[in-house]
């Protein structure tokens, strides 16, 4: 009887786990099935390289892919040095009190709602960008990536910090014993030792910025054009979903939303695989 109960308990715990796995697959399958009409007959290539012009029967999402890439990479480009600086400050350079203060602020920042970054961005950042560059509306790649950089930095800083703190104390003592300054310790000992963590932080943040909807939707202008400069207005895959969801369910336009979903799913899977790869390399 006891054994029977144990078996049942295991089953009861197993089913939700299985359900969650099925859910992961179901999301993929849904995107695939709904997006299929656009991709049939080898048109997938056309879809991801073509441009968008529903009036002319063109549903390519290449401009959105480019827009997503541009915003995501630019935001990581901004966030990376910022995060390195802050993480170094917190782990090594700052006096204890300030370091603790900064550490708590960074943690707290991970809890700030995305929509608030977007809201303030519209009324504070966009006019500044518009006045500063005198070119365009201010709703552009630059505005979105700056805000996004601020959004992803806390995550990046926390990962960096954790990997800095994991450097064995004996290494640090060795550097101290040789008369190294804090900066030398940072540059020659900590950063080389924390390489794996730094990679993981960058990849993780890249994933977050690829998947973010609101900042791009609210600040990037949503124009359907392949970007030429950072002051151009662009539309990301995520914003495209949010904007086109409202159209006719039968239309090919609507189906393109699922192609976007599929590509975002793919990006995500790629990010996870990369994370795992970096992680496994580190533990070897």
């Amino acid at each position: 009887m006891n054994r029977q109960f144990e078996k049942t308990a295991e089953m009861v715990l197993f089913l939700p786990a299985l359900l969650s796995v099925i859910l992961t697959l179901a999301i993929f399958v849904f995107m695939l099935v709904f997006g299929l009409p656009l991709m049939k007959g080898g048109r997938f290539f056309e879809l991801i390289t073509g441009s968008w012009s529903p009036g002319h029967g063109m549903y390519g999402i290449q401009p959105m892919i480019m827009g997503t890439m541009a915003i995501a990479s630019l935001s990581v480009f901004f966030a990376f040095p910022l995060s390195m600086g802050c993480a170094s400050l917190i782990s090594v350079l700052a006096p204890r009190g300030f370091s603790t203060f900064l550490r708590h602020t960074v943690r707290l920042m991970t809890g700030v709602p995305t929509v608030i970054y977007g809201f303030v961005g519209i009324f504070l950042l966009v006019p500044i960008i518009r006045e500063l560059f005198q070119n365009g509306s201010g709703f552009c790649i630059l505005s979105a990536s700056l805000m996004l950089a601020l959004l992803i930095s806390p995550t990046m800083i926390l990962v960096f910090m954790e990997s800095f703190d994991r450097v064995p104390k004996s290494y640090l003592d060795a550097a101290d014993a040789l008369g190294g300054t804090p900066v030398q310790k940072l540059v020659y000992v900590i950063i080389p030792q924390a390489r794996q963590g730094i990679w993981m932080g960058v990849i993780l943040s890249m994933g977050r910025s690829l998947g973010d909807t609101l900042i791009a939707l609210m600040l990037a202008g949503n124009a359907i054009a392949t970007p030429g400069s950072v002051l151009d207005s662009v539309r990301t895959l995520t914003a495209h979903i949010a904007l086109v969801i409202a159209s006719d369910y039968e239309s090919l336009e609507f189906k393109s939303v699922f192609a976007c979903g599929l590509i975002l799913y793919g990006f995500n899977a790629l990010i996870i695989v990369m994370l795992r790869y970096v992680e496994s390399k580190g533990t070897q």
């Binding site: 006891n2 109960f5 308990a9 295991e10 009861v12 197993f14 939700p16 786990a17 969650s20 796995v21 859910l23 697959l25 999301i27 849904f30 995107m31 040095p81 390195m84 600086g85 170094s88 350079l93 700052a94 900064l102 943690r107 991970t110 809890g111 700030v112 709602p113 995305t114 929509v115 608030i116 970054y117 809201f119 303030v120 009324f123 504070l124 601020l150 995550t155 800083i157 926390l158 990962v159 300054t181 900066v183 030398q184 993780l204 994933g207 998947g211 973010d212 909807t213 609101l214 609210m218 995520t238 979903i241 949010a242 699922f258 979903g261 975002l264 995500n268 990010i271 996870i272 994370l275």
Partner: protein, 293 residues
């Protein structure tokens, strides 16, 4: 390395710290500067007496109350849906899963955790359309669909926190009850789960924050500009983050814009409160915060 370089690196780090602090204080300062003036009771209740509104005797037509109520019901529904599933799956992963099942499941949870919320929203939306077509025409994007989608969104976090809290228990705690003749399940129920409760709870509080904050999912699955306090799981609803998003582009007069700032401050307050609560519950928060997209 000469002195110049050292000074430069130091200066750079300090500059980064100051930029980060400056940026976040700018954002919050700006919000309060613009919105502090409207933080009054009538921001929430309009001209309806607060007690009547809370007891649902009268509708609030020009306050944030319906949006706050919508967010409250949404959070309750999705967390209570995700909690049993997430707990069970987390326990399974930590205590039972082994070998290839463990690898496959864990990979799949990583994927699920990383899926952009808009894609989850899209999934929820298509489920609603699918159900509407094939089952009942009473189903359309609504509180139920949003709640389920948000539950899908936070499910992997609850699984991960549960799993992590259980796995980090020291071996001696793990073996105590077993050595006394506890079965595997008794050990989980009487020792392991109670011991890791604080870790699990702080994860749950973070999940609540995430449900309250998310906009991308609900904008696809049933949040609307005006709906009043939701009457049932099958009705449309208003929500705080969606209201902020909506006002940001569609305000028609300065007063509406000011309520947008007010709503932002309230949402920020709620999220900060939840975050601090989670922090209090468990200090070793860093790891989970990393998986907070």
């Amino acid at each position: 390395m000469n002195r110049l370089w050292e000074t430069l690196i130091k200066a750079f780090s300090w500059a980064c710290g100051i930029i980060l602090l400056g940026a976040i204080s700018c954002i919050i300062g700006y919000l309060f500067m613009k919105g502090a003036g409207v933080i009054r009771l009538d921001l929430i209740f309009g001209d309806t007496p607060p007690l009547d509104a809370i007891l649902l005797k009268r509708q609030v037509l020009d306050g944030l109350f319906p949006a706050m109520a919508g967010t409250f019901f949404l959070v309750c529904f999705s967390v209570f849906t995700a909690l049993p599933l997430g707990l069970a799956a987390g326990i399974y992963m930590s205590e039972y899963a082994g070998g290839s099942i463990r690898r496959v499941f864990s990979f799949s949870f990583d994927i699920l955790a990383g899926i952009p919320s808009i894609v989850i929203g899209l999934f929820g939306f298509s489920i609603a359309v699918f159900l509407h077509r094939h089952f009942s025409d009473r189903i359309f994007p609504c509180l139920l669909i949003s709640g389920l989608s948000l539950a899908f969104l936070v499910l992997p976090y609850i699984i991960r926190t549960t799993q992590l809290s259980l796995e980090t228990l020291p071996a001696r705690t793990r073996l105590t009850a077993l050595a006394l003749g506890a079965t595997r399940f008794q050990n989980i129920r009487y020792v392991l789960v109670p011991q890791s409760l604080s870790g699990i709870l702080s994860g749950v509080v973070l999940a609540v924050g995430r449900c309250a904050e998310d906009t991308a999912v609900i904008m696809l699955t049933g949040a609307v500009a005006m709906a009043g306090v939701p009457q049932s799981l099958l009705s449309s609803y208003e929500a705080l983050p969606f209201y902020i998003y909506y006002i940001s582009s569609q305000y028609t007069n300065p007063h509406e814009l000011a309520t947008g700032y007010g709503a932002s401050i309230i949402l920020l307050g709620i999220c900060t409160f939840l975050f601090l609560a989670a922090f209090m519950i468990q200090k070793g928060l860093a790891r989970r915060a990393l998986y907070y997209p």
